[in-house]
């Protein structure tokens, strides 16, 4: 899958309370959750982004709570991909489980806010169209690739069930 979008940059340690404040967690609706995404740290975020835009962040993105509402909110507001130096572990597995594309890329400072990126998820290749640079992300372990290619954990479980 190839994703093309403008970059919206965040710093280090963006936590799940930043992504979706706890007061909204009584909802399971990704559209509603999306409308409140990043409210605590950037109240205009959802107004500023366009469908398909890409979040690029520093280390430990998604730290804090286990709330799957966080990747759901990011998906729900129209973000197509999150690229970060590193991800907190529950956010990481939640994203893979629900099919929110994520990529680990050590040199996120090479990417600027508002850069236009074209990303080949399967190859882990980022083409920075603004800077005319190409770079490569960390590869997912094979096991995770299986889940990602099944488009999430539920489908992966069902596929495995039908195999056995």
């Amino acid at each position: 899958m190839v994703i093309k979008g403008k970059v919206y940059k965040f710093g280090d340690d963006i936590n799940t309370d930043d992504i979706i404040a706890a007061k909204y967690l009584d909802s399971q609706d990704s559209k509603f959750l999306g409308s409140c995404c990043m409210e605590n740290i950037d109240p205009l975020f959802v107004k500023k982004i366009k469908k398909g835009d890409i979040i690029v962040a520093g280390k430990n993105f998604g730290c804090g709570s286990s709330r799957e509402h966080a990747p759901l909110a990011i998906k729900g507001c129209g973000i197509s991909l999150v690229v970060a130096k590193s991800f907190a572990r529950i956010f990481y597995r939640n994203s893979i489980n629900i099919g929110l594309p994520i990529l680990t890329f050590k040199d996120t400072e090479k990417i600027n806010n508002q850069d236009l990126l074209k990303v080949d998820l399967r190859k882990g290749e980022i083409l920075n169209l603004t800077k005319k640079e190409k770079c490569f992300c960390e590869k997912f372990p094979l096991f995770m690739q299986e889940i990602i290619n099944s488009n999430g954990l539920i489908n992966w479980v069902k596929l495995n069930e039908s195999k056995t």
Binding site: D13, N15, D17, D18, A21, A22, K23, L25, D26, S27, Q28, E39, N40, I41, K59, N60, C63, G64, S65, S66, R67, E68, H69, L72, S86, A88, R89, I90, R93, N94, N97, I98, P141, F143, M144, I147, G152, L153, I154, V157, K158
Partner: protein, 423 residues
């Protein structure tokens, strides 16, 4: 090559019988709360699943927005109740019989040493203090665990933290873990297990140990773990037992030649009570450096420090004293059993006479859910685990994290205070 305790537990539960980079593992117990479980149940239903692996090994604990703060919260509880009824899940706990999950489940005997536990809540790592492999997961993970009783796991590396020296008065498990997070950072143990060991760990109480493993996730860890000893089994004896899985104590130790990613020694001799300043749990200072910080609210409770020992130490300081009139102090015993015990010991009376308000067992204030929200510019000290931007309410409010003694002393002084200042 020897194995760590975590590796031993995972090996025992790995469906392939091997420890590969990734394993599919059998769970002994899985659970969710009134925030994460409704999402899991919706995912379960959307997937078309129509059976659960074992109703006795599933728990739903309604603790976050309870007592129901509004219609949505009430509806989520009802939704879980109906699902539980349909699938014969008896371990559905509503407010009439419930408490903060990571305290309540242990009290009710659902967690045993050597178990593999997954919970749709990040502080599931708390149970590692009992010598089990206990991991926080998301709602989709829980949906699959409900159906299959299985979970995918990356086998983590372990870092061993060895605490040495003599603990000063007013220094507790909370201070040990805060100081450790301050030292390694909020991603200092990312994807890894923090194994807590050494003479200090042997000496501290089970409740202090639970506070430490509770906050392992605040350093990015997959979980925290402590080898069970006599204290662990004594603690278990004092609680009910629901599930089997307890193994011989001898099996539940890391091998002498186990491979650690790192071994870090921490000298506690000079440690003062620690306080994490806004807005990260790693932003840690000694309490003496913060005596100028004025407060609007004090909260004593949560899965980190809402246990009976926390209430005892807070009440000891508050006895025959008043909290500062300029602030509010909220005390929430983590479970009904703790509430009852506190009543029996006269602690609740002490809190009330000092001017604190009592709140039923709930996660509410800790996550800015309800029952203690901060307004713009307000400052709180809390015995909880997170102090992120907006964690307890307004994005421009400020949360300091500390042990229960520091919280109680601060309530008396109206500012951050060392317990010695009020004795």
């Amino acid at each position: 090559m020897g194995l760590t305790l975590t590796e031993k537990v995972l090996l025992k539960h790995s469906l392939s019988g091997k420890l590969e980079d990734f394993i599919y593992a059998k769970v002994d117990f899985c659970f969710g709360n009134d925030i994460t479980a409704p999402l899991a149940v919706k995912t379960f239903k959307q997937a078309g699943f129509n059976s659960v692996f074992n109703p006795r090994r599933i728990g739903f604990i309604c603790d976050h927005f309870l007592p129901a703060r509004d219609l949505n919260a009430a509806n989520n509880v009802k939704f879980l109740k109906e699902f539980s009824k349909k699938f014969g899940i008896q371990n559905f706990f509503d407010i009439n019989n419930c408490g903060v999950e990571h305290v309540f489940l242990l009290e009710r005997g659902f967690i045993r040493p050597g178990n593999l536990v997954v919970g749709a809540d990040s502080h599931t790592c708390t149970f590692g203090a009992m010598g089990c492999a206990s991991f926080g997961v998301g709602s989709t993970d829980l949906a699959v665990a409900l159906k299959e009783g299985r979970v995918w796991l990356k086998v983590p590396k372990t870092v061993r933290f060895i605490y040495k020296g003599k603990l000063n008065k007013w220094v507790f498990g909370k201070d040990l873990i805060l100081s450790t997070i301050g030292r390694i950072g909020v991603d200092g143990a990312l994807y890894k297990v923090m194994e807590f060991a050494g003479p200090v760990i042997n000496k501290i109480s089970m409740e202090d140990r639970l506070t430490m493993t509770n906050m392992a996730v605040e350093a990015g860890a997959k979980t925290g773990i402590i080898e069970p000893d006599d204290k662990t089994f004594e603690y278990l004896k004092s609680h009910r037992s629901q599930v089997s899985g307890q193994r011989k104590k001898q099996d539940l130790k890391s091998d002498k030649d186990a491979k650690y990613e790192d071994v870090i020694e921490i000298d506690v001799n000079k440690m003062e009570p620690q306080v994490a300043c806004p807005h990260l749990p790693s932003n840690v200072k000694s309490v003496s450096a913060l005596k100028g910080v004025k407060l609007n609210q004090v909260f004593i409770g949560s899965c980190t420090n809402g246990r009976i020992s926390d209430l005892r130490v807070a009440a000891k300081l508050l006895r025959k004293k008043k909290i500062r009139k300029s602030l509010r102090a909220i005390v929430s015993p983590a479970t009904p059993d703790i509430y009852k015990q506190a009543e029996k010991e006269g602690l609740l009376k002490t809190f009330l006479e000092a001017g604190c308000v009592l709140c039923p067992p709930t996660c509410g204030p800790c996550l800015g859910g309800h029952a203690g929200i901060l307004d713009k510019g307000e400052v709180a000290i809390a015995t909880t685990n997170r102090n992120f931007v907006g964690r307890m309410g307004h994005p421009e409010s400020f949360v300091y994290l500390a042990n229960a003694a520091v919280a109680a002393a601060s309530a008396i002084k109206g500012r951050i205070a060392h317990p010695e200042e009020v004795v």
